[in-house]
Amino acid sequence: MAIDQATVRKIASLARIAISDAEAAAMEGELNGILGWVEQLGEVDVSGVEPMTAVIPNTLRLRDDVVDADPLTGGNRRDDVLANAPAAQHGFFGVPKVIE
């Protein structure tokens, strides 16, 4: 199923990647090439086959309900959390004003 430039732009918008018309044109060809190729998967008879959920047999472990047990996954590290922020102010992350 071939995609057109409008679809390319829609995907780019969903993915929040700004693209120029020239980029959209170039991507149209590339994406169609790749999608056309992966579509051969449609040939495979998968009736009765479950989609893979866990590649290696393993069960989901659950964490104990303890606050800051491990500093690497706990809170109380605002400086670390904000250290790389492009626009941190007063302990917050700053973003362009949002109108809800």
Binding site: K10, S13, L14, R16, T53, A54, N58, T59, L60, R61, L62, R63, D64, D65, V66, V67, D68, A69, D70, L72, T73, G74, G75, N76, R77, R78, D80, V81, L82, A87, Q89, H90, G91, F92, F93, G94, V95, P96, K97, V98, I99, E100
Partner: protein, 488 residues
């Protein structure tokens, strides 16, 4: 069937309501990290590297959050799915650090259940009704945006980011704002009984997305709108009312309802289109590859079930069976704290019916007057049981009990001690009572004549005078008997 109708220009309309309640799971730590969940902390202090979605960070689910959702599901008699999994809901927003919310779309933890709302004549609910619950799934809360601190910027606080929510999705089974209100109150009560959510709507622990559509009675469902994040029962009812009227007016004036997300304005009681999330709702859900399927074993489920308390409906039935009026049973079970207090009172030996009357009138009246919650009631259930016991065994009269209770509220002293110290013990000493009766009759000879002349209503006057002269301490039954004899 509810007969709530919106009266339009062209006839009557029925309102169809479904609620998606987001209830914050009571837990110490977040759903996928060890950061705290406490309300009101300094911005971004309860944020782990995981919650801030730093590169390479991974989620590990909190057992307690899963457990609480399962217990909640059991409380609404829902199917618990022993195999569920987490999916990612992808969208971009400043309060969503990962660029996706970890939620459960395809395989929720809890399947279908239901909840019963009671008839409430005053609210216009003629009959009790079962409201279907589609599912409960567990998901991450988003952070918080603040818009007023800076002229050109919004500020992001991620303290809430990653806090566990249960999304409790009802079926479109409600037909009036009152039913929606009753559903929310009942759901809140159940959550609080179970202890899976504190139900605190002011702090945002419980919010509802309100789905509303209108139709001609008997016709198929109309197009619905979803009003997001409404945070009180009253606002939910207002939002439904406003939204239903708006839709009716729109349709009747030739327009059509657009399926959209709306915002509620509590100041005006109105809803409006939400601007920021207008763009294509293509969330690209897929199973979160950082997490394996969530598989629960029987031991886990057994523990969840065993830890469930008696729930409102069962408690109510038990109270009614003990002779408590349906009304009082409803009042006593509406809030988990009251019910627990009352159960403690019963455990301390109080007679159910008298205890229910006393709690719903005397105790609630006093708390109301003092502006206190039952959770900080100055009188313990044991003390109250003692007080009721003194009335029941004739040690004090009902009116003395009121005085004693007032003193208890002030001093916290035990009732027997108060009765003893203040000499409030009721007397059945016939000699003493006869002496007082003699004095009362002598002082009111004219009234005695009138009584004897047939004005029997004066009997109450003599009782009152006698009781007054004895400072309320006389056993009223004995007073009655002796008075009858003396006047006879």
């Amino acid at each position: 069937m509810s007969d709530y109708r919106i009266k339009g220009e062209t006839g009557e309309w029925e309102v169809v309501i479904g609620l998606e309640v987001h209830a914050q799971v009571t837990s110490n730590a977040k759903l996928f990290s060890g950061a705290a969940t406490a309300f009101g902390a300094e911005p971004n202090t309860q944020v782990s590297l995981v919650d801030a979605a730093m590169p390479g960070m991974l989620p590990v689910p909190n057992r307690e959050c899963v457990r609480q959702a399962v217990r909640t599901g059991m409380a609404i008699e829902a199917r618990i799915n022993k195999w569920s999994r987490f999916d990612r809901k992808n969208y971009f927003y400043a309060d969503l650090p990962q660029g996706y919310q970890i939620s459960q779309l395809y395989h929720p933890l809890v399947g279908e259940g239901s909840l019963h709302i009671e008839a409430d004549e005053k609210a216009g609910i003629a009959h009790g009704k079962m409201i279907g619950i589609e599912r409960i799934h567990v998901e991450q809360d988003a952070g918080k945006l603040m818009h007023d601190q800076h002229p050109t910027m919004s500020f992001v606080d991620l303290n809430r980011s990653g806090v566990a929510l249960m999304e409790i999705v009802s079926k479109p089974d409600m037909r009036s704002p009152a039913e929606a209100g009753a559903y929310l109150r009942k759901l809140r009560a159940i959550l609080r009984y179970v202890g899976s959510c504190d139900g605190n709507m002011e702090e945002g622990s419980m919010r509802a997305d309100v789905n509303v559509s209108v139709r001609r009675p008997g016709e198929p469902f109309g197009t619905r709108t979803e009003t997001k994040n409404v945070n009180s029962v009253r606002f939910v009812m207002q939002a439904i009312e406003y939204e239903a009227r708006r839709q009716v007016e729109l349709i009747e004036s030739g327009g059509a309802v657009v399926q959209e997300t709306r915002l509620f304005n509590p100041d005006t009681g109105t809803t409006r289109t939400m601007r920021s999330k207008e763009d294509a709702h293509d969330y690209r859900y897929f199973p979160d590859p950082d997490l394996l399927p969530l598989e629960l074993d029987d031991a886990f489920l057994d523990e969840c079930r065993a830890s469930l308390p008696e729930l409102p409906d069962a408690k109510r039935a038990r109270y009614e069976a003990a002779g408590i009026s349906a009304y009082n049973a409803g009042v006593l079970t509406a809030e988990v704290e009251s019910a627990r207090w009352f159960d403690a009172l019963l455990d301390a030996g109080a007679e159910p019916k008298a205890a229910a009357n006393w709690v719903t009138s005397e105790l609630f009246g006093a708390l109301n007057r003092l502006g206190k919650d039952i959770s900080d009631c100055p009188v313990t259930p044991a003390q109250a049981a003692e007080l009721l016991g003194l009335v029941a065994d004739g040690t004090i009269s009902g009116s003395i009990a009121k005085q004693v209770f007032e003193i208890m509220l002030e001093t916290g002293d035990a009732p027997a001690k108060i009765v003893e110290e203040k000499g409030l013990k009721q007397t059945s000493d016939t000699g003493a009572i006869e002496k007082v009766i003699g004095e009362v009759l002598a002082a009111n000879a004219d009234k005695v004549d009138q009584y004897r002349g047939g004005k029997e209503a004066l009997f109450g006057f003599f009782v009152g005078q006698t009781m007054k002269a004895m400072q309320g301490k006389a056993n009223p039954q004995v007073v009655n008997e002796l008075l009858k004899k003396a006047l006879g």
